[in-house]
Amino acid sequence: MSTVSQRRRVAVAVARKDLTIEWNSRILVNQVAPFAAIVMVLFAFALDNDGILQRVAPGLVWLATLFSMLVVIQRTFAVESADGALDALRVAGVDPSAIFAGKSLALMVQLFALELLLVGTAVVLYGVNMTLVGFAEALVTLLAATVGLACVGTLYGGLAGGARGRETLLPLLLLPVVAPVLIGATRATEAAFGSGGTKVSEGWPWIVLLLVFAVIFAAVGSVAFGPLVDE
């Protein structure tokens, strides 16, 4: 069993490796971000009404986040399974909970950047107006939701990314689990955006739900990641 500091070092190393790969390949910037943006534009085509768009903007931001997240997770495990990197790490005796923490951390950074972009798109395209307090609340919502999404995404991504032909499994496993995040984050963002006359103060209880979700899946992920990715 490795000590806490060893595990932290491994986690940071794994996260740095993932972010370096992302920095060099620019998949997030060149492919995922444009995909997320076009989804936001397509929502506008489908709903075709400025008033409705402004009202449902928070839900659309989070739906676009979930869809783009699937792509990011698949990417983050494709780099592992391509040459058996994850198996190599496991064979080398690296603590699976440290790998889980590292990959979740890298995923958090990428998701957070993506969500900032999507909120920005909503402000520009859907005519959302935020107060300063609302902006702060939106930031806290993004952070809380991102931690939960990254943990649960890493957990199921590891399971679905283990071998070829499993990619189609990820949406089926992941989307039902993240329903609480979609509900909580959308309501909290509604409060932050003031959509439909919602007050900023109404958002905080939802952020608590997001935090509870994040804590549960961070704990579950550290325990269950090992058995789920074991081949």
Partner: protein
């Protein structure tokens, strides 16, 4: 090795045959009680008869998912890790998915007749739909391949995560409904006064469906054991063939 492997003529034994015959008798009795003997409801008319199938199916589904979780926990905690627990979880999971589907279909038919709509965004309905999808995912993971042990470990962990996730989804869907928008159509939890024969039919349904579940789960477990045995034998044959190639 499981005893089923040595009796290749079928998955039935004397006991399961007795169980099967009793189940059929109770089902016939339920059909008569539900469709003919029991009276119509004052408000719902004959629609109430759907309940004699709807309520037992969701009961069996809950029972099945509970069994999936329990057998998975036993598998993970056991020292010898017998695959029989894994097969029981898998069998129960399959039957649970089937009966959630039955209860969703019968429920929406009942809803169409009573509320005038197939679906209401009620917390209980929505959570049940999530339950359905979650266990479809569980069954998909069971078919990922690999050795029996890999399948058993993977799916057991997933079944335990599912048990943790369901209350969370249920809770958030619940607050979503209560805080966001009140259900405008008839309250599904409203008290319904049942007369004696209606109550009897409902309980008969619960017993008959539970027996059907037991019969199905035993047979499915045995057929899964046979499938595993066939896969093992296929592997042995392949190894044997390679050996012969090497020696010749």
């Amino acid at each position: 090795m499981n005893s089923a492997v040595t009796t290749p003529r079928g998955t039935g034994t004397r006991n399961t045959r007795i169980l099967g015959v009793l189940t059929i008798i109770l089902m016939v009795l339920l059909t008569f009680c539900g469709l003919i003997f029991s009276g119509e409801d004052i408000n719902q008319g004959s629609t109430v008869r759907i309940m004699y199938v709807h309520v037992p199916s969701i009961w069996v589904a809950y029972l099945a998912f509970g069994m999936t979780a329990l057998c998975s926990a036993i598998y993970l905690s056991g020292r010898n890790r017998s695959l029989i627990w894994d097969r029981f979880s898998g069998a129960a999971g399959e039957i649970g998915v089937l009966f959630v589907a039955v209860s969703l279909v019968t429920g929406s038919l009942w809803g169409r007749l009573t509320w005038g709509t197939y679906w209401v965004w009620d917390a209980r309905l929505t959570s049940t739909a999530f339950l359905f999808i979650t266990y479809i995912g569980y069954l998909a993971v069971r078919r990922l391949g690999g050795t029996h042990r890999q399948r058993a470990r993977r799916s057991a962990v997933l079944a335990l995560i599912a048990i943790l996730e369901i209350p969370l989804v249920h809770f958030s869907v619940n607050v979503w409904r209560t805080l966001h928008q009140k259900a405008s159509v008839a309250d599904p939890n409203a008290k319904v006064a049942l007369d004696g024969l209606m109550l009897f039919s409902l309980f008969l349904g619960l017993i008959a469906f539970t027996m059907l579940f037991a019969w199905l789960v035993i047979h499915r477990q045995r057929s899964l054991a046979l499938e595993d045995a066939v896969a093992d034998r296929g592997l042995d044959a392949a190894i044997e063939a390679r050996r012969e190639e090497a020696t010749n």
